[in-house]
């Protein structure tokens, strides 16, 4: 009796196995699981801990989660360094993104035209993107060196700065032999923003280039035949057709810039004078990790949340609109 039972049950098992592999529900869950676990463990959990920390008084010396309190927020808010960092974060993001959108548009428009050596120019412009942020920023640290800055050397030779050891000559830009890019309060912020633009420009340019090439050549031809000038073409045809993708470039830029600490940390450590160029991310790092005040660091980071949430919502709306179309 047992032999026929085995023979009968075998095909059944085979179909069941096939069913399992073809079952979209099972397969879907299985395929999504790794990503799901990754997000929960490395994004969700730390985020929840940060929220929890922000409402506690934990430090590295006293990591016990024993009190829930709003005092941490009160202390953080009252700190003038935090206030400076909060304002700086917005200045840093808004100015760099505004300039970047303009430059990326010009670059993208230029790079979608045909000219000899286009591949080389494209390659060079995309290069900063391929460089690790820290290394690129360290390169800029040298460019901005207080004594040996090559930019200063060029400025000196153009007469914008005073020549070393030449008496009587006056620099047009500044009556000194060096700019001290990272040593003067306003100039340091300028330098930080400049490097951030350098860093973000390739990505925005590539995104906008993709948008430009997606506009049908027939539309471009129609504009030519209809006889409008380039400004009107850009404002009334290119820009409206580019708007969704431009927004994507801008939102990415905002996220990467608003949460960035590398550029500030490597270039200025938040100075000069101390903490004048601090942004939320670098201030949270200094507070929470370097000083070991986990709760204040977490509370500082919480102030990024509204901006990032807003950006995420807009992104989701764009994504849904493109899906509906």
């Amino acid at each position: 009796m047992s032999a026929p039972t085995v023979a009968q049950s075998q095909p059944v098992e085979e179909t069941r196995q096939e069913n399992w592999k073809d079952n979209e529900r099972v397969l879907g869950v299985a395929m999504l699981l790794p990503a799901g676990i990754y997000v929960i463990l490395l994004v969700g959990l730390p985020f929840l801990m940060a929220v929890l920390f922000a409402f506690s008084d934990v430090t590295i010396g006293d990591p016990a989660l024993d009190t829930l309190t709003l005092d941490t927020f009160r202390r953080v808010l009252a700190d003038p360094n935090f206030q400076r960092a909060l304002v700086n974060s917005f200045i840093f993001t808004i100015i760099s993104q505004a300039i970047m959108v303009v430059l990326a548009n010009i670059l993208a428009a230029a790079l979608t035209r045909n000219f000899p050596g286009k591949w080389l120019v494209r390659f060079l412009i995309l290069l900063p993107w391929a460089t690790p942020i820290a290394i690129g920023t360290i390169g800029w640290l040298w460019m901005f060196d207080s004594v040996y800055s090559p930019i200063d050397w060029i400025f000196r030779n153009l007469g914008l700065l005073k020549q070393i050891g030449v008496g009587g000559q006056v620099g047009i830009l500044k009556n000194a032999t060096n700019m001290y890019w990272l040593g003067e309060p306003g100039l340091a912020m300028f330098s930080v923003i400049l490097v951030q633009i350098w860093r973000m420009l390739p990505m925005s340019t590539v995104i906008i280039m993709a948008g430009l090439t997606s506009i049908s050549p027939d539309i471009r031809d129609a504009v030519q035949v209809d006889g409008v000038g380039w400004w009107r073409e850009w404002r009334e045809v290119t820009l409206p057709l580019l708007r969704p993708i431009l927004l994507v470039a801008l939102l990415f830029g905002i996220i990467f810039t608003f949460t960035d600490m590398t550029v500030v940390y490597v270039l200025t450590r938040g100075g000069p004078p101390p903490n004048a160029t601090q942004v939320l991310a670098s201030w949270a790092y200094i507070k929470g990790i370097q000083s070991g005040n986990l709760s204040e660091g977490a509370a500082t980071v919480m102030f990024m949340l509204p901006v990032l949430l807003g950006v995420a919502l807009v992104m989701l709306r764009i994504a849904r609109r493109t899906e509906v179309r």
Binding site: S216, D218, I219, D221, A222, Q224, V225, D226, G227, V228, G229, R232, E236, V237, P240, L241
Partner: protein, 354 residues
């Protein structure tokens, strides 16, 4: 008066000679069609006239002015693209008004013009819609309205009907031709569809390999094709070509009929025809089969009008007849049209396949 003239127009893309010496003269109010297979240079020719492409060689005159170095807007031309190229983010009104804005026309005049153009093409009720809310036929009308609103000297149409479905196309053809007559605007029309070309063109220029093979009225092209390319490009089904001695004989499918029904032929030439297949299409019958030629049996097609009710079956040989006046003669090596080659009555039989 010649509105458009091209002299020795050439466009080379590297080694590819897309357009290789085109001389065209388009008369005032004329509807001229550039007809040819894809890649024959017809669209490039039109784009050069529009100013979207710079000629490698040759000159273009519009309204007597040499316009080689003029940008499109200075040429006073309007173009309708195959894809219509409507601005997707603008309403129909703004699409039509767009060329007028470039001329810095005041709002009131603009509105009048747009309403005139929209009325012309019966799309006045669609002015507030966006292009994606329109059907294919409506989009095409918007594109046409946008083109005429500026009252251009020259109207360029690049396969404007090819995105419409077959039913709509026949109607659109008729309408388009009517609008053109009404407006009297000089028109250059590019198409690969010989039915459109024959049906709409005052004259048709057949292009191939970057050159104009023949320029003439549809009748001229059909009756006296200048070479075997033109002969086989026009007509559906196209002209039959049969080798005979030193030349190639050409005849249209509807010119060869069964001798039994085709009695009063002035100068008959009898051809035995082995029918291999009969295709019944309602208004006519297509007969596929073989006739003898210098190269052995050659496949030909004949079209029998439905008036001829004589039963014809596949597998039989019938005595077919054609008027010698309906024959075209082409040189075997140059493939160009030559004067009729006389041949004796006896040898007139192209020959049986058996």
């Amino acid at each position: 008066m010649a509105v458009v003239e091209t002299r020795g127009l050439k466009k080379h893309f590297g080694d590819v000679k897309a357009v290789d010496g085109v001389d065209l003269v388009i008369q005032e109010g004329e509807f001229l069609v550039l007809l040819g297979p894809s890649g024959c240079g017809k669209t490039t020719t039109m784009r050069m006239i529009a100013g979207l492409e710079k000629p490698t060689h040759g000159d273009i005159y519009i309204g007597g002015r040499k316009v080689n170095d003029f940008p499109p807007r200075a040429r006073r031309v309007a173009m309708v693209f195959q894809s219509y190229a409507l601005y997707p983010h603008m309403t129909v009104y703004n699409n039509i008004a767009f060329p007028l804005k470039a001329e810095k026309m005041n709002k009131q005049d603009m509105q009048q013009k747009v309403e005139w153009a929209a009325g012309m093409f019966n799309i006045s009720h669609l002015l507030n819609r966006k292009p994606r809310q329109l059907s294919g036929g409506e989009r095409q009308r918007v594109a046409l309205a946008r083109a005429i609103v500026r009252e251009p000297d020259l109207f360029l149409l690049d396969e404007p009907l090819s995105n419409l479905d077959a039913k709509l196309r026949a109607m659109a053809r008729d309408e388009l031709k009517q609008y053109q007559r009404q407006l009297g605007v000089t028109t250059l029309y590019v198409t690969h569809d010989q039915v459109e070309a024959m049906g709409m063109g005052d004259r048709v220029a057949v292009m191939s390999g970057g050159r104009v093979r023949q320029l003439g009225t549809p009748q001229e092209l059909y009756r006296t094709p200048t070479d075997t390319f033109v002969a086989t490009f026009l007509g559906s089904p196209p002209m039959n070509l049969v080798e005979k001695d030193t030349c190639i004989l050409g005849f249209h499918p509807e010119h060869i009929l069964p001798a039994e029904v085709h009695r009063d032929v002035r100068d008959p030439l009898h051809i035995p025809f082995d029918v291999t297949r009969v295709e019944y299409l309602g208004s006519e019958r297509f007969l596929y089969g073989l006739v003898g030629s210098a190269q052995g049996p050659t496949k030909i097609v004949t079209a029998i009008p439905s008036l001829v009710t004589m039963p014809i079956e596949a597998g039989q040989t019938y005595d077919f007849v054609i008027d010698r006046g309906d024959l075209s003669f082409f040189d075997k090596s140059t493939l160009l049209r030559i004067a009729p080659v006389p041949f004796a009555h006896d040898s007139a039989r192209v020959g049986s396949t058996s």
